[in-house]
Point group: D2
Chain length 118, copies 4
Amino acid sequence: MADQQRDYTTIPTPPACYADFCLVPVGTASVSVAKEVAEVQKVLAASGLKYTLHSAGTTVEGPWDQVMKVIGQAHSIVHQTGAVRVQTSMRVGTRTDKKQTAEEKVKRVQDLLASSLD
Amino acid sequence: MADQQRDYTTIPTPPACYADFCLVPVGTASVSVAKEVAEVQKVLAASGLKYTLHSAGTTVEGPWDQVMKVIGQAHSIVHQTGAVRVQTSMRVGTRTDKKQTAEEKVKRVQDLLASSLD
Amino acid sequence: MADQQRDYTTIPTPPACYADFCLVPVGTASVSVAKEVAEVQKVLAASGLKYTLHSAGTTVEGPWDQVMKVIGQAHSIVHQTGAVRVQTSMRVGTRTDKKQTAEEKVKRVQDLLASSLD
Amino acid sequence: MADQQRDYTTIPTPPACYADFCLVPVGTASVSVAKEVAEVQKVLAASGLKYTLHSAGTTVEGPWDQVMKVIGQAHSIVHQTGAVRVQTSMRVGTRTDKKQTAEEKVKRVQDLLASSLD
């Protein structure tokens, strides 16, 4: 099969994605993670990427490599605050048909809900 | 060990939790999932539970059993729209020290960020 | 719309699902979570449901309500070991076309990989 | 605060991590995702990283940047098979105290379970 000859190592990563993540430090005596979340927000701000904080995580948008880099930096900075283990839950989406920002996605659903009440 | 005698089947589920979930229909020709998301919102509204829509999912709060029931109902209703497979990514949190709503969590981080700028 | 009249509260939860979950205690001084994971395995064993442990989580299969009940019980038992907060990352799947066990899913992919080497 | 002067853009990503991920193509007519999973396995094999397939996802281990690169390449190759949208659920862990492979983690829990039966 031609497929066998393909060089899979040269496949590019996606030019755009969104990642919604929730990072948890493990093995720190404190119950509150708000301090760590605040540190992570600073890393995000420094990245120049667009991001939104919500109650169950943070959504960040941009090129795949940059988005994943900043989440990796977030792990590193939380380790620097003393956490020996850091665990992140993430959902990531990519699409090839169009760019759709976080706001546009929310608006699309709200419009559908509004129209179904007619 | 005393532990071995314990009846693990009678352990109660948590009285309160939050669940942040993102449901995806698989094997439907349409790329847009906004219609399915809108159906899910109706199930949530009927549940009487508190919920918030954001761009990467929905956060719902309440007793464990009720929260999980409504997410299960969401799967069922998306199956009824024609999706043969439904996949959900979820993060769930419980705590025993205090109740903290979704809004309070966001505010706590925003306050920390504001104070660190002083 | 007829849709508006529908009673969304009576929709049943799915008769079968799988849930792959990873539970993390937050705010405990210990870095290791192996003790908590072992407690969770005992709750799972008591449930009578089929489950498999892997390095990044546990997969449990059965009716939606029973699967979610046992994961809720897992939260409760980890709280009982002293964790004030417990956070779980979960992915859940349901399908209406056929039942497919965890082993069958792995075998299907392995067969595809083997045949693509011909 | 000294903190304010810090250059957050130069923080390195973690030298090691594991990522457990489950990738789902959205908007393809086919219900089966086994073909896409098989393509993803080829991308993983080409990466040289250590990975394990299980019924609810794939666990890959290595330096943060390389692990995230290969998951991004997985998105790209699934787009190339025709999927307009690709959605991944991921959990990622890093630790600074020791390296622990996927097998070691499973063994640790199995040992604890075995010893609790004494």
